[in-house]
């Protein structure tokens, strides 16, 4: 302690009174406030992006769930039927009958707007054909008043929603400005109404020419079968691998290699898993392209690291005293794990699995490579094997397909599809949170 020179002159300290703020302190406090403000701003920007994203999804996607329908009550007499059937252009005849019917209804309400079959075709598609096939299939409906609900064209829909203005309309094959007068009249007469579009939820994808009729239902089933594969494979494999690594594995090169592998696989870009799927499952093993089975296998490999990591955390959370207690009454190590540790870790494992599945459900990139995107999913699979092996789409792949089409009317479907996808993800995450809340255990 020789150099503890107490005679060293004192260092000059800060301002004497605590009650007055020194100029330097003022500056420092201002810097403090600024720094804090940066944090608030950053957080607000981050949350602002979230709000922006949510708003644009909802604003663009909600219209996909409603459908504009033209409902016309209409009676076809036997004479009209016979006359139409006798003509050369049968559907045109039906269209004319329809036009007359609608005109009559409009005039009843004092609205007089001239239009012809061409207008009808632009506004709601080939009505004549629909009518003809209806009456040919249901001859008993002839002479009886029947209400037809016909979906309006997507442009009409966008006009009524205010997304399409008169100025934007370029006369053409799809819509003419004059048609909008008819739409206005029909809307005023209550003939055009809005209805919930069940077809979007349950329907199949359509070709590029019919955006209005496209639905996401079939690809939901595709996703379902994929998730089934992922669940059936990744849960048992992931749990088995975790049990080995956490409970039995000796510390050696081999287990180290596995550990490093798992943590690195979790960070491999998903597109690389797509390449793996393409090369191994399709090129090498000749599994069918676009099949949910292949998609499920690829997503299983992707999800496994997630499940292993969360399962190991759940196993680790079970205190060693439980194992000791089981071993102490003469259970084998395997029995201790399977009878005591695993059941206690189960809620945590399930939570991790659900979160892993939710991730897999939204994954798109690998599906692009195994051919789930180009495929137009027009039909529901007929049965279990067909659900696994027949080409199908999946929700995110379907959304991508719609977004890649040139007709802008499909974009609305893509946004709508996103809402459906996010609802599924939300539900899964909620279940995971509830599970965690309900079974959370503090040791």
């Amino acid at each position: 302690m020789t150099d503890a020179t107490s005679n060293a002159p004192a260092i000059k300290g800060t301002a004497s009174s605590l009650l007055t703020e020194s100029p330097l302190m003022k500056k420092r406090n201002a810097a403090e406030a600024r720094f804090r403000m940066y944090g608030v701003i950053a957080l607000c920007i981050g949350l602002g992006f979230l709000v922006f994203l949510a708003v644009s999804i909802l604003r663009n996607g909600i219209p996909a769930f409603t459908q504009t329908v033209v409902s016309v009550e209409f009676t076809l007499t036997q004479e009209q039927f016979d006359e139409a059937e006798s003509k050369m252009l049968k559907t045109a005849a039906y269209t004319e009958i329809f036009v007359n019917g609608v005109t009559a209804q409009l005039q009843e309400r004092g609205l007089d707007v001239p239009f012809d079959g061409g207008t009808i075709e632009r506004l709601m598609g080939k009505v004549g054909g629909d009518l003809r096939s209806f009456y040919r299939d249901n001859p008993e409906a002839i002479g009886v008043p029947t209400t037809f609900e016909l979906p309006a064209a997507s442009r009409v829909e966008r006009y009524l929603q205010g997304n399409l203005t008169r100025e934007m309309v370029v006369d053409g094959r799809f819509l003419e400005a004059a048609d909008l007068d008819v739409v206005d009249a029909l809307a005023e007469a209550g003939i055009i109404t809005s209805a919930f579009d069940w077809n979007f939820i349950t329907g199949a994808d359509t070709g590029v020419d019919n955006p209005g009729g496209a639905g996401i239902g079939v690809s939901v089933i595709g996703s379902f079968f994929m998730m089934l594969v992922v669940l059936v494979l990744s849960l048992p494999i992931g749990v088995a691998a975790s049990i080995y690594l956490e409970e039995f594995a000796p510390r050696n090169r081999f287990t180290d290699l596995i550990e490093v592998n798992i943590s690195n696989l979790a960070a491999v870009p998903s597109i690389v898993f797509g390449i793996l799927g393409l090369a191994v499952f399709i090129q090498f093993a000749h599994l069918p392209q676009s099949a949910p089975l292949v998609g499920g296998l690829v997503l299983t490999l992707m999800t496994l690291p997630t499940i292993v990591i969360s399962t190991r955390a759940a196993l680790k959370a079970v205190p060693p005293s439980i194992r000791d207690a089981a071993l102490g009454v003469g259970a084998s190590k395997m029995q201790a794990v399977f009878h005591h540790v695993l059941p206690l870790a189960m809620p945590g494992i399930l939570t991790g699995t659900i979160i892993g599945l939710a991730q897999a459900l939204g994954e798109t990139a690998p599906l692009l490579l195994i051919g789930m995107v180009g495929y137009v999913a027009r039909e529901y699979p007929d049965g279990f094997a067909s659900g696994l092996l027949d080409p199908n789409s999946a929700m995110p792949a379907q959304i991508y397909t719609w977004a890649a089409r040139s007709d802008e009317a499909f974009f609305e479907k893509a946004w709508g599809g996103i809402i459906v996808l996010l609802l599924f993800l939300l539900t899964m995450n909620l279940i995971a949170i509830l599970l965690r809340r309900k079974f959370e255990r503090r040791w």
Binding site: F35, G39, V272, L304, L368, L369, I418
Partner: protein, 493 residues
């Protein structure tokens, strides 16, 4: 379907074995289960597993090996002159398989007898039509040697199938019988069964390694094929990316540099967005925010991480892109006309940055929280303000961890696919203008493998070379980042 049947038979044998084993155990113990070493179910499981597992493994291996054997047997019949090149042989063999498949269908749908099939010859003339009739469309008329090879293919395949069924069932029965005979009261059935279970557990853990091996092998094989067709130097140092669309044309320029530049540029913009916002949010949430604000804002921010990338892709393509054009494009709010279209480096970079915010913020949050409270106390006790403490003590202390987090985010950005596929454009160019459309390694992997080009062409195979580059770069970044983060954590443990 016959494989399904074999599996069912095996399962049936397993169940039978279980009951036989359990019965035998009780019988040798004279009905007193206390005489036994293990619980009776273990004896049952012992017999059941011995019946099923070896047989199932044999079945699995056989299923993998048989196609190669059959292929070899059939390809012997292909005339050497028609298969002058290695690629041609595989093309012909795929024809052979299709014809064989068609013959199978003919046998099953039209009831053609084996003798009638053996008598088929190309001179019948209508073979192609008949095959088309059962749903096997062929590009050209069937060659004589192809037909013969197909017949041989079918025959060998059928023999293989029969042999397989018999062998597998025999092995199952043998396993059942042998293990059944082993049962005595002193036999340690539980230990054997547990050994079996342990083997299953180890096998499950090995899948992680198999996946990596699968990734590496499939990338390396196809990349090797690619470099046989395209010079390696031009791939890595080529400044131009313009694949020809003709398929097998040699006029493609497949230089990776423009793609790497696009990837790099977009990632940089993404990090420029994500790092300041994420880092400051993390600092605010961990150092300043009240518990209430934290409990609301943190999960909300993490919602951004749970949103699938396709959503971000669509957001970039349909919302952010047009918005940016409204600002920077022709007749835009700024009147600068810098931006021609919605898909651009800045669009993809911005949206990717939004995606990465929670990634940076939650990792940094963890890392900042790992800085010991004693550091904060030490600084505050000296009369430092909170921000001085954060800037001069906490951030320097957490720096390695934060760098690790940023590297992990960078590896995410480099590997991200959907946002760039939808938001960045398709043109590969070396440009400094962030308002230009550019493309990335991942986007080109997608476009080269989803197009119509022939799978053996350099235009398709280049995707594997791109894939291996991507894999190596992201892997290196990850390993490095995880190493830094681990070192950092060890420092404070």
């Amino acid at each position: 379907m016959s494989n399904m049947l074999i599996m069912l038979i095996l399962l049936g044998l397993g169940v039978v074995g279980f009951f036989l084993g359990r019965g035998r155990a009780l019988q040798v113990a004279g009905g007193d289960r206390r005489e036994l070493h293990s619980l009776p179910v273990y004896y049952g499981a012992h017999v059941g597993l011995n019946a099923v597992v070896p047989a199932a493994m044999l079945l699995f291996v056989w299923l993998i090996v048989q196609p190669f054997v059959v292929n070899n047997a059939a390809s012997d019949l292909i005339a050497a002159e028609s298969a002058s090149e290695a690629g041609d042989l595989s093309l012909i063999m795929s024809d052979v398989r299709r014809v064989a498949e068609g013959l199978d269908l003919l046998a099953s749908t039209e009831g053609m007898s084996d003798a009638a099939i053996a008598a088929l010859s190309v001179d019948d003339g209508n073979l192609r039509e008949r095959l088309a009739g059962v749903g096997v469309a062929l590009g050209a008329d069937v060659q004589a040697d192809t037909l013969e090879a197909a017949k041989r293919y079918r025959a060998v395949d059928a023999t293989g199938d029969m042999l397989r069924t018999i062998t597998v069932i025999l092995v199952a029965l043998a396993g059942l019988a042998l293990s059944w005979r082993l049962i005595t009261p002193a036999f340690r059935a539980r230990n054997t069964v547990e050994k079996g279970i342990l083997a299953v557990l180890i096998a499950a853990a090995t899948i992680a390694i198999l996946t990596t091996v699968g990734i590496v092998l499939s990338l390396i094989f196809n990349t090797y094929e690619f470099f046989k067709l395209y010079p390696i130097g031009e791939f890595f140092f080529g400044l131009s990316w313009s694949p020809s669309f003709s398929g097998r044309g040699g006029s493609s320029e497949l230089g990776i540099i423009p793609l790497l530049w696009g990837t790099f540029y977009i990632s940089i913009i993404a990090l420029l967005v994500a790092v300041p916002i994420g880092l400051f949010s993390a600092i605010y949430l961990s150092e300043y925010a009240s518990r209430r604000v934290r409990s609301i804002a943190k999960p909300l921010l993490e919602v951004l991480a749970g949103i699938p990338t396709i959503v971000y892709g669509l957001f970039a393509l349909l919302t952010v892109g047009p918005l940016l054009v409204d600002v920077f494009g022709q007749d835009g709010a700024l009147g600068v006309n810098w931006m021609q279209g919605g898909t651009a480096v800045i669009t993809a970079g911005l949206v990717m940055g939004i995606m990465l915010i929670p990634f940076v913020s939650s990792l940094s949050d963890d890392i900042i929280n790992a800085v010991p409270q004693a550091m904060r106390d030490g600084s505050l006790g000296l009369g430092a303000t909170h921000s001085e403490t954060v800037r001069q003590v906490i951030i320097p202390a957490a720096l390695p961890g934060i760098v690790g987090a940023i590297l992990l985010a960078a590896s995410r950005a480099i590997g991200e696919t959907m946002i760039v596929v939808l938001g960045a454009g398709a043109a590969a160019r070396l440009s400094l203008n962030p308002f230009d459309a550019m493309t990335t390694v991942t986007a080109k992997i997608v476009s080269q493998l989803t197009g119509d080009s022939d799978f053996a062409s350099p235009e398709a195979l280049v995707a594997f070379a791109l894939g291996i580059t991507l894999f190596v770069v992201t892997l290196a970044l990850n390993v490095f980042a995880l190493y830094i983060v681990r070192k950092y954590r060890e420092q404070y443990e």
